[in-house]
């Protein structure tokens, strides 16, 4: 489904604020049940199922799907306590009819202009933002950032903020792993066919060893991501986030180096994964914040 969707074209449209292709893709992902995995059965979902969600997000990363995917999952997690807000928003999120974004107060929200539900984790609870400010481009063309306006309707004075962060981190880690796997696959394909000095550059040991290191990093991040989805402890999820994002970022650097100038070319699709690897590293807890979480659990 994702392979046939031509996500690079959808990403380029999305970066210009043209959302038809992105929304069509969103509907198909929702029909496959991906968002429903984060929504309890009582609200027309299939969840909560973090393991299945992590597996799905690896694929969303692998195909560089645009949109507030992680934020919609995080919003569903924040709204998961039974109550009027849950009944009002969760069925729409599960079905893909609505698209949510979620920000911490004072932070940036992803795709605040595209989302139909703009939620803020404020000091006094979960609020529905009354609007958003100007849109700023990310170095990843699939990501557009805005500040949400303060105030707005108070949906829940005691939302599951920690749970929202946990789900956001897990989904981001899985997405980053998928980004890294895609970068590795594409680069392996490229170095097999790119000829220099009369032979494929993939036969050079310097090239092989960089790709072997990328493979090792990704293969040891994978069990952390899936293991964290099983335990859902803050330390395991944080460890998965550090590991997957660092592996994806290392792979991105390797991918760019081994592609050379073609990899530095914006119209060449590789760039969509290269820049996403960097952006996801910071999103929902940078490496330092996640390492702090790993150590906090053992204090």
């Amino acid at each position: 489904m994702l392979a046939a969707a031509g996500t690079p074209a959808a990403v380029r449209d999305w970066s210009r604020g043209e959302r038809a292709a992105g929304r069509a893709l969103w509907s198909r992902i929702a029909e496959a049940g991906v968002f429903a995995l984060a929504v309890p059965e009582a609200y027309e979902g299939l969840g909560p199922r973090p393991v299945e969600l992590a597996v799905a997000f690896v694929e969303l990363g692998r195909y560089a799907v645009p949109g507030p995917l992680v934020e919609t999952v995080a919003a569903a997690a924040a709204l998961s306590a039974p109550g009027p807000a849950a009944g009002r928003f969760l069925p729409g999120l599960a079905s893909g009819e609505s698209m949510a974004t979620l920000a911490r107060e004072g932070g940036y929200a992803l795709d605040g202009d595209a989302a139909t539900a703009r939620l803020v984790l404020a000091a006094d609870g979960l609020r529905l933002a009354p609007g958003h400010g100007p849109v700023r481009a990310s170095l990843d063309p699939a990501r557009r950032l805005t500040r949400l306006h303060p105030g707005g309707e108070l949906l829940d004075p005691d939302p599951a903020a920690d749970r929202a962060l946990l789900w956001a981190r897990l989904a981001t880690a899985a997405q980053a792993l998928g980004v890294g796997l895609a970068l590795l696959d594409r680069t392996v394909g490229y170095v097999k066919q790119r000829v220099q000095f009369g032979v494929p550059i993939g036969s050079f040991q310097a090239v092989k060893h960089r790709l072997a290191d990328a493979k090792i990093a990704l293969e040891f991040a994978r069990p952390l991501v899936l293991g964290a989805a099983v335990t859902m402890t803050p330390a395991d999820v944080a460890a998965a986030k550090v590991s997957a994002c660092e592996a994806a970022y290392t792979t991105a650097r390797t991918a760019l180096q081994l592609h050379g100038a073609i990899g530095y070319t914006a119209e060449y699709d590789l760039s969509l994964w290269l820049t996403k690897a960097r952006a996801l590293r910071t999103a929902w807890g940078d490496p330092d914040a996640c390492r702090t979480e790993v150590l906090r659990d053992r204090a």
Binding site: F204, L211, I216
Partner: protein, 356 residues
């Protein structure tokens, strides 16, 4: 657990103490829990075996002097040996009565086993071995050794015509010369073989098929059997405790967190590999991922510890320093990490063979 920590098994004194420990473990089947009972094991399945290893190292129980035999020769005998060989070799190995050294490396052949030159010449009833082996771990104190010898110098390709044999380190014609190691331990040795007779019953598998048999053993060495996740979980916990004891300095925070994360990654990756085994899959080139990961991890962890210790980290008798120097060997033995990266690139990523 022994009441007192045992002296290092890389010394003559420690070797004797470890033999006694091995015998005590074996008295109730704990020295090779995954083996059949008739050879001295407990017939544990993979999961119980992994759990035992984790608990063993978490308890900081002694390193295993029988390791070369138990984790390298024994799997080879299970896969390629005869019933007579298994019955003769394995129970004594489990009890630490016969300690085995690996005799693979030669002065001109390290990870490149295809360029081995030590010879095995056919004689009535067996073979005569001649040549030199070197950097044989624990050969200074071990009883017997196993290795590859060139039995057919005319073979079409260099990795053909090799034969896998077991031989006695005290046999006539064997000279063992200890080599001092970087960590100050004398257990390393080079072996000079001069017309050493080996009976046919000590040849494993078909003569000339040694390469294929050894490759299976090498995958075991790099894969599940050599490094239990328990070791790294225990090391990471020790590092974390050291960091706390030193006031949890900011400068080492990221490295300590990464040590904890790495140990968890290795543990979960091992579980994933075990699941694949249980599902009937074999692990081949994937073992190379493990080998590079744990060897680099081990060095990084111990570098962090030495940084935390400051001046004290320089003292040779400091336990962290000793473990650090031991870790330095990791990327070299069991096939250098350069060779492992070539295997990963060629066998797992499908890249073409080419310039080394």
């Amino acid at each position: 657990m022994p009441p007192e920590p045992l002296p290092s098994l890389e010394t003559a004194e420690g070797f004797a103490a470890h033999r006694a420990w091995e015998a005590e473990l074996a008295s109730d089947g704990w020295s090779a829990v995954n083996w059949p009972r008739r050879y001295g094991g407990r017939e544990c399945g993979l999961v119980r075996w992994l759990l035992f290893e984790e608990e063993y190292y978490t308890a900081d129980a002694p390193g295993r002097v029988g390791q070369n035999g138990v984790s390298l020769l024994a799997p080879t005998l299970f896969a390629h040996g005869t019933e007579e060989q298994r019955a003769r070799v394995l129970p004594a190995m489990a009890r630490g009565e016969t300690v085995w050294a690996q005799a693979w490396s030669e002065p001109e052949a390290g990870s490149d086993l295809a360029s081995l030159r030590a010879r095995a010449v056919r004689v009535p009833g067996g073979w005569r071995l001649s040549g030199q082996k070197t950097w044989s771990s624990r050969a200074a104190f071990a009883d017997r050794a196993f290795g590859l010898f060139r039995s057919d110098p005319e073979a079409a390709k260099p990795h053909q015509g090799l034969t896998y044999v077991m031989f006695d380190l005290r046999a006539k014609g064997v000279t063992v010369r200890p080599i001092g190691r970087l960590d100050g331990k004398p257990a390393f040795a080079e072996l000079f073989l001069d017309e050493v007779f080996v009976p046919d019953e000590d040849v494993i598998g078909e003569p000339g098929q040694g390469w294929r048999i050894a490759m299976a053993t090498a995958a075991d060495e790099r894969g599940l059997t050599l490094r239990s996740p328990g070791r790294f979980l225990a090391s990471a916990e020790r590092l974390h405790a050291l960091w706390r004891a030193r006031g949890a300095p900011q400068r080492a925070r990221a490295q300590v967190a990464d040590a904890l994360i790495g140990a968890r990654a290795y543990q979960l990756a091992t579980y994933a590999t075990a699941s694949r085994f249980l599902g009937g899959e074999r692990v081949g080139a994937e073992a190379s991922l493990n080998k590079v990961f744990w060897s680099e991890y081990d060095i990084a962890l111990h570098e962090t510890a030495l940084d935390l210790l400051g001046e004290e980290g320089e003292f040779a008798e400091e336990e962290w320093s000793q473990r650090y120097v031991f870790a330095l060997a990791g990327p070299i033995y069991a096939g250098t990490n350069e060779i492992q990266r070539d295997i990963i690139a060629e066998h797992l990523l499908g890249l073409p063979r080419g310039r080394r």
